[in-house]
Amino acid sequence: MITTMLLLFPVAIVAGVMGAILGLGGGVILVPALTLLFKVPMRTAVAASTVSIIATSTGAAVAYLNDHFTNIRVAMWLEMGTAVGATTGALVAGYLNQRVLFILFGVLLGYSGYNMLKTRGKERDRQVVPDRMSRRLRLAGSFYDPALGRRVEYQVTHSIPGLVIMYFSGAAAGLLGIGAGIFKVPAMDQVMGLPFKASTATSNFMIGVTAASGAVVYFARGDVQPLVTGPVVLGVLIGALIGARLMVKMKATTVRKMFIPLILYTAAVMIYKGVVRS
């Protein structure tokens, strides 16, 4: 038991570092690691992973907020979509064909991964023209990027399509238990025109809130096993603190290059689940 706990720790730290840098919950890595390597039951693994999303988000957000990488206004606007989406997703979960959904969302992810692959290495200063909603909500932001050695000022566009995508991303999380941040980052980066580092930091900030409502339910059902969740969460928390410090100094192109394999992998996992039956 003690050796298992000690082994869980480094895995969790790596998951926390990756999750913090990429703005993801890391469930797609943690859940298979827990179930396959440590023989943890699926329900316990999913519960541990959900609580650790909060750890990634909370741990990394402190650094991102202080460095103004997080766009709070964009986050609050989009959180409405994810929170309402997650609730309605859970509501209709029984009535929809999970396999079709897995394939559908998997293909969508694969497509945005492909788009990211096409535009990799071009961390251009995009000329984003803000839409009316973005102006009204004052969504534009700026941060000092140590990797570039200068301030990055940016505008935000497609605020309403962004909100709609967040609704579906939240619904996907509620329906499939997967996809905390993996949809949010491409939506902000490719649709709304945020710089990549602002996208991952803002996604990181948002994922904790959606995960919290799911986590309460797992707690109430008794799926949160302190001996598994405890070490995982502590490890992820420490990893997130390290990851956030690393990301601040990393080049946006590097962060994007790290993101691409993970989005393609997640897409493959989702399609596989849909085709082979989860």
Partner: protein, 100 residues
């Protein structure tokens, strides 16, 4: 962003403080719980771990609540409303999850 002299702290620093406090308390509770676990068979390390996890769980909810209060203070009614919508959706999500 805006230059109101009375306001020294930005919303970023306020929320960062909330999250830092939450993660420190949760981290300390977890660390004590986990490190005393192998030494004693007593039930309290288990409770410490659970307390740490619950602290962590409440932190993002508190963060939305505090953001809402800041927006109200700034008379940014629209964003205060957004926070309220998020809190309602969270409550509905939890209720739904517990009932279903």
């Amino acid at each position: 962003m805006n230059q109101e002299p009375a306001k020294i702290m930005t919303i970023e620093s306020i929320l960062a403080r909330v999250l830092r406090l939450g993660s420190i308390i949760a981290g300390v509770l977890l660390a004590i719980g986990l490190s005393t676990m192998p030494l004693t068979g007593a039930p309290y390390p288990r409770r410490l771990i659970m307390a740490g996890l619950i602290t962590l769980l409440l932190t993002p909810v508190l963060r939305v609540l505090v953001a809402g209060v800041v927006f109200v203070k700034e008379r940014d009614w629209l964003f205060a409303l957004f926070c309220l919508v998020v809190l309602c959706a969270l409550t509905a999500g939890v209720t739904l999850g517990l009932v279903v």
